[in-house]
């Protein structure tokens, strides 16, 4: 007898084990999904491919720099490699990383919502991302591009004979995916919070994502129009940036950095949000100064728009405006510092547990601080003249973007992995990975501060022999870093099948995402949650546990 009654089905698959992963199967159920959780996973897979590709170009560069002579790559190939590395890592990996993967997955659950406000637009944003990414890949295959990720004119419009239009078109399209994600998050945070979830009860990750989304919405259109103007000038020689045609090359830099400095905050703000979640969860404390941390995200989002010309100090802008921009750049460090102090104050007398997400976040706090402080060095007019366009700048932004943002992404990935997949990752291997990443990272990039200070310029495939020792250290560090990144790829995949079952709340953390099953059901919650507690109410939780379990 083969007929299955309603009763049998219930017996075989009780409602509880139904989750977003097994409601339906097949490629189409993924490619046409409107579920924010599945879209988050689609993004996760896509940006991981990009991360590997960008990492490949980085390793090739580091290999070239093992020796002072330009022997492994020709200068042309080297130019293409650092360009592709930068474009892939920034536009195709880091900008979508935390928002589109973790934000997509976790944000609606943290709000107690069933989905984002516009599920179809969410799917559209992934397709736009894929179109942009494939355009980028196509450029890699047909010969690359050599303008640097900054596309400076007039080189990009007049002189470069590589695939500038294809690349800028790819970045242009990906920009729209970023705008749509930001728009979706803003509307969702305004309109879809669970009953009782007031603004000041929101997790700080939500505040950080809100600030990020504002930046995405307000800055990215400027990049779009700038790239369109670049394409127009390159294609039909309308004089916008080229002095020979009556344009002004610095106009390009102004407009590019009006987007791209705020864009660095699109990369770091979400990581700061993850830091707040993880610090609270692994110290069992309320975040010290919740409102300050929340509003400092908005302050960063705003002030980040007022500092862009610190990238142009030696480009020929007026010294008076340079002074203004230098002053404003010092200002933007204040809200960042507030966050660092508040996390540190939260750690004080907390019962810290050294799980992998916490290890990554402790690394994040230290490395982000070093990146921020060296940013202040660079914002000082006199010092910048000395170190601009040297490895000092390269070290500065890698401390923030890799030591800060990428570490934040890995912290969040490990923190929410049990929720996303229902499985625990292997803790021992993950700690080893975090350690390798920390050691490898510092060995790669700390020598670059010294190299830059000694005068080694960035973006060349050959260098003076006296710089070799520090460069060898850097390349050695990069190899360790590569192993550190490879490990999670292996053990996370392994854990999908062999990892311990996670259960609803493996960390004993508070927050709505830890009240629903892992992996969550298709609609996130079996019934709409009602929030009656403040964010990070660990003291109350510990007290309740003490009363019921007497521990």
């Amino acid at each position: 007898m083969t007929s299955v009654t309603y009763h049998d089905v219930q017996f075989l698959e009780p409602a509880k084990t139904r989750n977003y992963l097994n409601v339906d199967y097949g490629a189409l159920s993924w490619l046409l999904t409107k579920d924010h959780k599945r879209i988050g996973i689609l993004y996760m897979v896509s940006i991981s491919v990009m991360f590997i590709l960008g990492g490949f170009f980085a390793l090739m560069m580091r290999l070239e720099l093992l020796t002072p002579e330009g022997d492994l790559l020709t200068s042309d190939t080297y130019n293409k490699f650092f360009t592709l590395h930068g474009i892939i890592m920034i536009f195709f990996f880091l900008i979508p990383s935390i928002p589109a993967v973790l934000g997509n997955f976790i944000l609606p659950i943290q709000l107690g919502a069933k989905d984002l406000a516009f599920p179809r637009i969410n799917l559209l944003s992934w397709y736009l991302y894929m179109i942009g990414a494939f355009t980028g890949l196509l450029v890699v295959i047909i010969g690359g591009v050599d303008t640097g990720w900054t596309f400076y004119t007039p080189f990009s419009t007049q002189y470069s004979n590589t695939h500038v239009i294809g690349t800028t078109f790819g970045a242009f399209i990906v920009g729209f995916s970023s705008i749509l994600t930001g728009l979706n998050f803003i509307v969702t945070i305004h309109r879809m919070r669970a009953p009782g979830l007031t603004w000041y009860r929101l997790p700080l990750f939500v505040w950080a994502m809100y600030a990020t989304s504002l930046v995405q919405l307000l800055a990215t259109p400027i990049l779009a129009i700038t790239l369109v103007m670049l394409m127009i000038e390159r294609f039909i020689h309308v004089g916008i940036f080229d002095p020979a045609l009556g344009g002004d090359p610095l106009l390009f830099q102004h407009m590019f950095w009006f987007y791209s400095h705020p864009a660095v905050y699109i990369m770091i703000l979400p990581a700061m949000g993850v830091a707040s979640e993880v610090v609270a969860a692994f110290t069992r404390k309320k975040i010290f100064g919740y409102t300050f941390v929340a509003y400092s995200s908005l302050a960063i989002a705003f002030l980040g728009f007022l500092v862009w010309a610190h990238h142009m100090f030696v480009a020929g802008i007026s010294v008076y405006s340079a002074m203004i921009f230098s002053f404003l750049s010092y200002f933007v460090a204040v809200p960042s510092a507030i966050k660092v102090f508040n996390w540190t104050a939260t750690l004080y007398k907390g019962s810290v547990s050294w799980q992998t997400p916490m290890l990554y976040i402790l690394g994040f706090i230290g490395l982000f601080t070093m990146g921020g402080v060296t940013g202040l060095f660079l914002a000082a007019l006199g010092l910048d003249v000395h170190v601009t366009d040297t490895y000092f700048v390269v070290a500065h932004f890698h401390y923030i973007m890799v030591g800060g943002a990428v570490m934040g992404y890995f912290a969040g990935l490990h923190y929410w992995w049990p929720k996303i997949t229902g499985r625990m990752y292997p803790e021992w291997w993950a700690r080893l990975g975090a350690l390798l990443v920390f050691v490898g990272f510092n060995l790669t990039f700390f020598p670059q501060f010294i190299l830059g200070y000694l005068g080694m310029p960035r973006r060349y495939h050959a260098y003076a022999p006296e710089f070799q020792v520090l460069n060898v250290m850097s390349t050695a560090g990069a190899s360790i870093l590569a192993v550190g990144y490879m490990l999670p790829l292996v053990y996370l995949l392994w854990s999908l099948r062999f990892g311990r079952k996670a259960g609803t709340n493996p960390w004993g953390a508070v927050g709505l995402e830890w009240t629903t099953s892992s992996p969550p059901p298709k609609d996130n919650f079996h019934e709409t949650p009602v929030v009656t507690w403040e964010a990070y109410d660990y003291p109350a939780m510990l007290k309740a546990m003490g009363e019921t379990q007497n521990v």
Binding site: A117, V187, H190, R191, L218, I222, L250, L251, H254, M255, F258, F305, L306, W308, A309, G316, I317, S318, V319, Y320, S321, I324, F325
Partner: protein, 102 residues
Amino acid sequence: MADIHEAPHDVTPLPTYFFVFIALAAGTLLTWYASTINLGWANTPIALFIATTKAVLVILFFMHVIHSTRLTWVVIIASFVWLGMLFVLTFADYLTRFWAID
């Protein structure tokens, strides 16, 4: 999704649309006419003034902003403030580039 959108309560009477359209057409003619006479330094400000007025009409009436919620106003005003920041700080460079340095 119904709860996400404001109920479409379009209270603009039809004649208003025609009136705005005529104003826009007149503005276009005015722009053309202004371009035929040389007003020296005032050329650009006048053209920009007409264009801005037209844009405001479109935003208020054709985009229904005049009947929209306060949040919509915040969004629109913020966008222009941001554009203003781009302009002001960029011109802080251009306009002071040739000042003397003592």
